[in-house]
Symmetry: C5
Subunit: 323 residues, 5 copies
């Protein structure tokens, strides 16, 4: 679905144009055509591909979707695949894809399964014509920057989740099934972020320093900034994975500790019952000559002894922390 | 066994030829000879090796089979070893091998223990004569692309398996022996995929960018595409290995949790029996002066007390989650 | 908040100047202006940014804060972000940030959330005019050196903590919840140090050897020294992480050992009660013909047997270490 | 001990020669002298070292033995240290050492503690004079190839061992001490193979591609082949280590599972005894008014109830898998 | 403390000189001054630093001590920091430090906290004047070689320790607290060795091949040899760390196995007491009509039944390995 198709000149919006006018505007000097598609059909992609004279392999990739993030250069054309990450309602991460074809004087952005659009990027760009005058490279930067900034929101969500799990982990008596499940889910989500950010980090690193695609010239400080944000995200993910692995170990240790304390309680309570039972057993024996049995104080003394021993045992276990 | 032996000119099929005609067709300019062997005997390999003037070390490797995937250059000749992966019936992976000898004007493909053939690759190539006109490099690409695409099917199968194990893992009371066995088997299968894909990834990386074999010139975008698919596969394998390691830890934690809950149940039930037994023991004592024994209400009161205490104990354990 | 603003000439302090005099002093040859801000507002940063003609992206980073440590070059300008680490009262680490803008003839330092200032650095520099005469590069070195030295204090604190945990870990009967919590907390703190030191290490490595920013020329031995300290810190962190991982495993093993010894105690005590109870049970049977029952020695012998057996059992378990 | 000392010309054996004739034959053009020593004394090594004018450091290394595998170049001389691995009788690995000094026109091989000799290598070389004509480089290749091929036999032995352990691991009720011991032993053996193969892999990589020692010129395809075998071996070792680590985890999980099932059995059997004991206790009470005691059916009913309850309990535990 | 101060000419000892004569001897051509200090005060270091015109940063490092091993070049001067490792009495490692300043015609060695001196190095050097004639580079080599050889002794001690722990680990019934403590201690010692050897390995690698400090020219084979020894040490440490990690896992598994066997024993013995107790309970019931009670054989039969059942149970558990 075609969302936007606008021609710019020296950073200033000329007009909304139809797809048919694109070749005309591409032929003008200093013109920039910025086209945005949303969940397009393979045919649409094909049509625009022919319009902008894109490489068949890149078109194919855009049609299939589900690519790893990557930056490919075909002569003057850059083909950038990015994953978009958005928090969905239920603690999950919604993954979409943005494919960018960036030529000398055009940008074709295709978003697939992305909930939040990039209309605000276009608006911001149009408010800064002196920057937009840099051309397609600046649009590329602005879109990357936005996608990467949205990763940060996801990272913060995951950090909150880990913190909650940690709190539960160290609060007594809660080494439960749900902790384990949540840690496992968190691990999966970290992998998702990592799969979005790491290859993009590689791509961004090729956009400044060293040999740089021509479109990115003069914009290197900007791409270095994006790359820096990606480095931060990747470090955050790494840290969380690290803590998570430790949290899993900690959880196992906590379960073992709980198990120990159950064994202790079990042992302590068993003793509380075993002692009176044994004494009762002794006075249940049928020997004829058991003087205590005849004493009028026998029964109360026996009962008191039982009680007394149990109190002593109770205290002992209480003191040694078994109860 | 010789399956196919066809001569092409500028991408268009000329004719099926016999092995004896190969030298003649090789001598014609712009001709491409594409020979396909299946499970050949060492002698057959030797014959074709001499026909195409292949390096003795490469011939030896093809005869022995069971090579690691690799790309070797002998002057103008490329020797590529690939593993084929096919899902077999019982959740296993069937591993075969394809050895490709690719010269300037010929392709010799040898498949060993591969179930599914590459006839469809030949057909697709013959339907795209403009691409086949690129020569042996394109055939090399088409075969690699097909082999790698089949890896994806295996990856999807393994992802399904992991998902099933995960579901079982987190459903209560199923931390069974079979989970562990399945995780172990899955790990082995991931290793198998990794052993097929990783060295091929290294090989593919040498086919574009930097110093590239002459046969791969003009085809670099295509090989980059194959390489990209391999990168995706390797990342998928890595992710699964990562999750699998975590799943094993989770499984251990689940077993420990189950163990804890058994201990708790054991303790709770023991208490339910210990209390009445103790009381019964007390009234089984043979003291002469035990007033309760003479009371007509003694017995029912004792029984009721036992029952009452057990109900209280039951409730207590129920509330604290031990039962 | 502006803390200091001083002009130097050939390493000798000229005078404290106001912000308005900065452009004048910058225009003088051999002059160095060193400005220190503390927790400034975005507007202040912006004002000084314009005064020193800083790059907008760097200004933005300084305004936002919470950057990863990094070194960025904008033509002649260096932008260095460092994290400061200070032990806070409760075994925690207080993290602050110092942003340095270093030009040919000025240094602008901005500290955010740092408790301890850098006044002593300025004083030391002013006492060594022959070194300060090196210009802004020396100030950069002096500030980095101070920040890095403060990391060492934190490292020592963490080493002490680990040692205390280890002592507790190996002292009998203390495999407690607090050990696990402390190890987890320590791991987090090590990550904090690592996140401060590792990217700074990367930055420092770019300040000597190879291609070096012009400001760092003639100062390379000094920056190599800072880099060396950072290497030491990073190694110390790595070692501690390594030991910590092992400590967690050790802790788990200790818990399991404790668990075993509880099971043993439980078994031993159970036996001590089970034997007399069994004997008592036997003599509690109501058979008419049980000769022992009639003997006057029956009861004392039975009691003695119970006692004797218990003593033997006690000894046995004591010897085998179960009690 | 001198085993062999032969002079070759253009790949054809001239004659067995004595150590004294070596200098003469070295002086002839196109001559190759191949000397084989076995477990020589330091003095012998010294003598030959002087004969061939070897570097004192290399001689010293050969005398001391127990070197890491390595390739050292001293001008025209190559010094290669390899470990030999041979299966010994008791599932162990016998480690020996082969030191090769390879000059332009001589090869001096010293084997230490190697059981199987290299006579067959010499024979194979003598049967292929067209290859042996390559000179000392080919002998070097032939010896390396043989040593590396023998690693493969060891790898296959270890793979068999792992498979046996796995079979035992997953067969019920065999998580025994011996599994753990065998896995540990296997790990040690894998380390041994790794220590032999990895540094040799590094050495082999320097013998083709890039800057290559002069002796290896024209032989690069051959050394690449050896390197490829080493890569395969190293990958096999890596895979096994990986599976072994998982196997250890699996084993731990199996032990925990067994432990759980023991706890379950213990609990189930305890219940089977506790119920009748409790009932018997109740009817062992001495209340005067217990109507059941007087009934003629009291005893059989009590017994039947005990039996019935035990049957029910038995079934319950059987169904829930605790028995 | 000044230990030695000797002037050499072309490798031959001239005379012991006093500190005051150093400048004179340094001014002579072909002279080498070799000064050895032991645990010097900062002032001494300073004095000699001025004498030899050393860089202030290097002097400062030597004064502070506790540096990471490192090699620093200041123009013609090399500054090498090494750690010395010596077995101390109680299975520990004593760590000292040696700082070497090596100029074109002097060597200043400073040892701190090292027990064993380097007098034997000096003697060996004086016995080989043809090697000492190489100049300060050879002294550097000789000292490094000696320090590194002493690491080997420590490695052997640690290998012995690991072997002892392994033996204890696999001998039945000894999964004790001391095993864990010893493994933990061993890990710490391995880290100590690694911290001494790894940075030195990096330093040594810069002394041969590639761009080499001028002092090391002509000595490259020697430094490669030292580097090789360091590689061996590092590999040995890596292997031990690897085995140690596995040993910790194995230990945990052993503890779990022991725990299982305790549970089994507990269950078995519980059964041995539970059965007679149950039977005794039954015949302790007070039913009026229990025919067995009146039989004269009742008591002996009951006793025999108890005994018989216990024998059967005993055998059963014995056979199934629970006892």
């Amino acid at each position: 679905m075609l969302i936007n198709c606008v021609a710019y000149q020296n950073g200033i919006k000329l007009t909304d144009i139809s797809a048919d006018d694109i070749p005309y505007h591409l032929s003008l000097p200093d013109n920039l055509v910025w086209v945005a598609l949303r969940d397009p059909s393979p045919e649409e992609i094909n049509d625009f591909g022919e319009l902008f004279d894109l490489h068949p392999l890149a078109i194919e990739d855009a049609q299939h979707g589900h690519q790893r993030p990557k930056l490919e250069e075909f002569d003057d054309l850059l083909f950038l695949v990015m994953k978009t990450l958005e928090p969905d309602g239920n603690d999950g991460i919604h993954v979409g894809e943005v494919d960018l074809f960036v030529g000398r004087n055009f940008v074709l952005s295709i978003r697939n399964g992305t909930r939040k659009g990039f209309q605000n990027v276009r608006e911001r760009c149009e408010h800064e014509p002196h920057l937009l005058a840099y051309g397609s490279g600046f649009v590329l930067y602005a879109l990357m920057d936005t996608v990467v900034d949205r990763y940060l929101a996801v990272i913060h969500q995951l950090e909150d989740e880990l913190e909650q799990i940690e709190t539960r982990l160290f609060s007594k008596g809660s080494s439960t099934r749900s902790n384990i499940t949540d840690l496992y889910e968190l691990k999966r989500k970290l992998l998702t972020v990592s799969h979005a950010a790491s290859p993009l980090h590689e791509a961004a690193a090729r956009m400044y320093g060293g040999r740089v695609p021509r479109i990115c010239h003069n914009m290197q400080e900007y791409f270095r900034d994006v790359d820096d944000h990606l480095a931060r995200i990747i470090h955050a993910v790494e840290s969380q994975r690290d803590m998570l692995t430790t949290a899993l170990q900690v959880n196992l240790a906590m379960i073992s500790l709980d198990d120990s304390s159950i064994s202790k309680k079990l042992a302590a309570y068993a003793a509380l019952f075993a002692v009176p039972t044994m004494i009762a057993g002794i006075y249940g024996m049928n020997f004829q000559h058991m003087p205590e049995l005849n004493s009028i104080w026998g029964y109360p003394i026996a009962l008191s002894t039982m009680l007394l021993l149990d109190v002593l045992i109770w205290r002992h276990f209480k003191k040694s922390g078994w109860l």
